[in-house]
């Protein structure tokens, strides 16, 4: 389980961020004593740091610059500023990504998982049960059988696989699809999931995807 450290001075915001990340299956750690924020960040073993720019004592950019001297923990900057200049500035001071408030919760989660993947703290899985996944070719194979997945089905399958055993909301699936320029609607999502089910069944995994009413899907 990945651990995410939240550095945000606004208390309600911090609480909600924590709740959001816990729901999404991350472990969280909060920084509350801002007089010693740098020491705290240096000491943490988190896999990712969410860093606000406007902080008491030492602002986020300074903090990041100091931190980067001897740490390469991935950092996503959070801020309410919305100019390209700030983005350029924080990226140049060593942030891995940048999100502006008010961030869309699922977009935030998407960015987090993208950064974690990029910095390879998460291993990209290439197998599920006895099925081998070839993303480049867009197909699933068991050695004897092969099933071609469409782009949409592959996106859905990968997201479910990343969080195998947890519920993935329709919202999260939708966000991932839209992020990949597949602007599908609710019906299309249902159709895609049921096609994926059929294909998985055909390759020897019936009942791999379960529907949880009003919550989402889960890959067993």
């Amino acid at each position: 389980m990945n651990k995410i450290c939240i550095v945000e001075d606004d208390e309600p915001m911090r609480t909600e961020l924590c709740a959001l990340l816990k729901n999404a299956g991350y472990e969280t750690e909060e920084l509350t004593d801002f007089s010693r924020s740098l020491d705290f960040l240096r000491a943490t073993d988190a896999d990712l740091i969410l860093l606000d720019i406007n902080l008491p004592q030492m602002n986020g950019e300074m903090l990041l610059r100091e931190l980067r001297r001897n740490s390469s923990t991935p950092v996503i900057m959070l801020t309410s500023r919305t100019s390209e200049m700030d983005e350029a500035l924080s990226l140049s001071s060593g942030a891995d990504d940048y999100i502006t408030k008010p961030y869309h919760p699922t977009i935030l989660l998407l960015h987090i998982s993208a950064v974690l993947k990029r910095t390879s703290r998460v291993q990209v899985r290439t197998t599920y049960r006895n099925i081998e996944i070839n993303v480049a070719k867009g197909c699933l194979s068991t050695g004897t059988q092969e099933q071609i997945l469409t782009k949409n089905e592959m996106i859905i399958f990968q997201l479910l696989l990343d969080r195998q055993g947890e519920i993935v909301t329709r919202d999260a699936l939708m966000t991932a699809l839209w992020d990949n320029d597949e602007f599908v609607n609710d019906n299309a999502l249902s159709v895609n999931v049921s096609r994926l089910r059929t294909k998985l069944a055909a390759i020897g995994c019936p009942d791999a995807i379960e529907t949880r009413k009003k919550m989402g899907y889960i890959l067993l």
Binding site: P12, M13, T82, E84, K101, P102, P105, I107, F183
Partner: protein, 337 residues
């Protein structure tokens, strides 16, 4: 200053001179002065009078004509005082002093307003950034406790957010000194960002989104372009309601010297009479009156932003059929250098 106008003004004094020379002539005749002498005296007096008049006329004409000429050439008329040469006659000097004083006081006045305006703008920007914090907290709260709030509350929150964005970009667009960064950005990325942000609204209205050939890099400020697309989407959603199979199609055409982004929707369109005015401030037009909820600011801000970024924006529409907004990005290394 025409000679005629000057003469008309001086005519009273010349009448007095005339009367004076008549009276003098009568007196001199009464004192039995020689005829030649009288003529000579009068001639001398008139020579002096005409000489001074011509001299006066010349130097005044030179000064005022020069002033009028500079005034006509000036774009900012209030700068006239800077161009005046100190005249050598009293009225001109008084005029210059008065101009100097009024200018100075006007500068102070304007500086006061400018200061006020800047403070107001800074406050607005700060305020927008501050309001984003509770909006962000709220949206997280709603996400975490979805069952209690429902999607309607979320939609309202998104409206608050998009309105505050409008304020921010308005404040920015009106003031050139505000920062923006022009660099190559991928149209595809910007379009999907804008789509992601407006996903719920698009789905709620049942509007299909199609994109084609967006694998193009353009020179622009990503955040601003995203905002512009957000405005387009909001407009389309407002005016596609009730249509059968509503859709938005975003395409790009990459030409040798420019890239054109087309934003097409099959909404209610814009009446031909309104078309030339849709980028005008506070213009709501026929659609705005019928469908309400239109402030007439969105497209005005969009056009301002486009101007600032050096993009051209144009619109084509047929009432009841479609609306197509196009943004032209020039390929000019002037920006990147």
């Amino acid at each position: 200053m025409s000679v005629k106008a000057y003469a008309r003004e001086r005519v009273g004094i010349w009448v007095i001179y005339g009367a004076l020379s008549l009276v003098m002539g009568i007196f001199l005749v009464a004192f039995r002065i020689q005829g030649e002498l009288i003529f000579f005296l009068l001639m001398m007096m008139w020579a002096v009078v005409i000489g001074t008049e011509i001299w006066e006329l010349c130097r005044k004409k030179q000064f005022y004509d020069g002033m009028l000429r500079s005034l006509a050439e000036l774009d900012n008329k209030y700068l006239i005082q800077e161009l005046l040469e100190q005249p050598d006659f009293l009225e001109g000097q008084i005029l210059c002093d008065v101009l100097h004083e009024t200018n100075k006081s006007m500068y102070e006045h304007v500086a006061g307003y400018r200061q006020q305006n800047r403070e107001f703008q800074e406050f607005i920007e700060l305020w927008v950034h501050e309001i984003k914090l509770p909006v962000a907290s709220l949206s997280l709260m709603m996400h975490n406790h979805r069952s209690e709030f429902g999607s309607k509350a979320l939609e309202q929150l998104r409206r608050i957010d998009s309105y505050t964005d409008t304020v921010l970009y308005f404040a920015r667009a009106e003031h050139a000194e505000k920062d923006y960064l022009i660099k190559p950005v991928s149209l595809k990325r910007i379009v999907s960002n804008a789509a992601l942000r407006n996903r719920e609204d698009l789905l709620l209205h049942g509007v299909r989104l199609e994109t084609e050939q967006l694998d193009v890099q353009v020179l622009t400020d990503g955040k601003w372009l995203e905002f512009i697309l957000g405005q387009f989407i909001a407009n389309s959603l407002r005016y596609t309601s009730g249509k059968e199979d509503p859709f938005i199609r975003i395409t790009a055409k990459d030409l040798s010297d420019r890239t054109v982004l087309h934003f097409y929707d099959n909404g209610i369109g814009i009446p031909a009479d309104d078309l030339p005015h849709i980028f005008t401030k506070s213009f709501t037009g026929h659609n705005g009156r019928v469908f309400a909820r239109s402030t007439g600011m969105g497209l005005y801000i969009v056009r301002n932003l486009c101007n600032r970024l050096g993009h051209d924006i144009s619109v084509q529409s047929e009432e009841g059929k479609y609306t197509e907004l196009s943004i032209t990005f020039r390929k000019n290394d002037f920006y990147t250098r």
